[in-house]
Point group: C2
DNA sequence: AGTTGTGAAGCTATTCACAGCG
DNA sequence: CGCTGTGAATAGCTTCACAACT
């Protein structure tokens, strides 16, 4: 019921903006560790990830006091603490639904296993694709979409990745949630609605480009005025 | 530093948070238009994209007064205004560097042409891949990486998409900028640094999953406490 | 001396609630 | 009357600047 928690895990909620930056810090620290660095100052690490040192220190202070004044942060220790906070010390089985170009890109994306993610299932309705073996860290056989519920239950999957066309996204999402999945990563260009208690993150490739085009247009507008 | 500040486009700067939502509104309005809707209220549109109606109205009011009190917004008119604001009424040639799984997924992503984006070049250093024809809206031949500068100049490319492995990202980014590109969409799992005046947006697939894992872990933590 | 950790201040974004208008 | 548009209030995030500590 009430566990004492010797290592105080974020009783004070970490703000969303900070959570979004933690994986970036994590990635930079891994690179530093590989390069053999043992300590790093807030100034150095901030420069490497493109934020201000004050922001970085504030972010890290929300997790705990893991630095040494006058010295900086020990790379390995900080890496461990961030990993723990992000849940990367656990094993996260996930399913990818839709083995088109994007689904393949995801399945072939290295660096899942090193961060605790494991592809427990690849699912597609196309009989031409079912049976194919895909993967970077290890090969996974594509299974028919009908077996979605089985795969989720067998492996205790909590994270589902939607890489289907837009029109199929909501139906797949509903099935994933009904089967027990509670976090959805949606790559389909469509808003998916979920019951409360389920988390969704969406990435729409076209959408990101539109934001860029907006900024580009602004620059062009400014140049016209100057000339 | 004292600029005269005589902008014509966006006299009142539209906040970044709003810009990020405009493409979502755009997508929802396209869907509504296809379904034959002629008007829509802030309440309806907000529900379709998953924001509050107050936020939606505030966002739209920053672009101008395009609604009718007591009625709502005319779908076609609002769609046009948002498109104009986002620069979607223009033609945006872009290059995609790196024709691995992700590069192919991007090249095959339909709905570029309908939003004003046009793939002016696909580039890859691998001779096995060079010459291949890829694409959804129209086929584009993969050209050798050496021709990056040529492609950018020929087509007047302002937007570059990096879909290379992490280690190649910064070098490709530097070459794109040197060739005249001013907006970078980075899909490589690596921070790219750019001179001021160049915009960057980064999407790291693994990074997004880490944020999800964080939320999932929180839910698990809460359940442990309850049981 | 050097760098973290953090209140306080400043800024940006969201929500509220209602006046204004069709 | 219904729905937009918006000032005012609130919440959230970032930056500042310096005390605290090694």
């Amino acid at each position: 019921m009430s566990l004492p928690r010797s290592e105080r895990t974020a009783i004070t909620a970490v703000p969303e903006a900070t959570v979004a930056r933690l994986p970036v810090y994590h990635r930079a620290l891994v690179a530093l560790a590989e390069r053999g660095a043992t300590t790093v100052s807030s100034e150095e690490l901030a420069a490497a990830v493109g934020v201000t040192s004050a922001k970085l220190r504030k972010d890290l202070s929300l997790l705990g006091s893991y630095g040494t004044r006058g010295v900086g942060y020990e790379v390995d220790y900080l890496l461990y603490q961030i990993s723990r906070e992000l849940g990367l010390t656990q094993d996260w089985p996930l399913v990818i639904v839709g083995v088109g170009n994007l689904g393949r890109a995801l399945a072939n994306y290295g660096g899942f296993s090193s961060r605790g993610f494991r592809i427990a299932g690849l699912l597609d309705p196309d009989p031409e694709i079912v049976g194919e073996k895909i993967g970077a860290d290890f090969l996974v056989e594509v299974r028919p979409l009908d077996e979605l519920e089985d795969v989720v239950n067998e492996a205790g999957v909590l994270i589902g990745v939607i890489a289907t066309p837009a029109h199929a996204a909501q139906a797949v999402c509903d099935r994933l949630i009904a089967a027990g999945v509670r976090s959805i990563m949606n790559f389909a260009p469509h808003v998916v609605v979920v019951p409360s208690g389920v988390s969704v993150r969406s990435v729409d490739l076209g959408l990101e480009l539109q934001v860029l085009a907006f900024h580009e247009q602004r620059k062009l507008g400014r140049e016209e005025v100057r000339s």
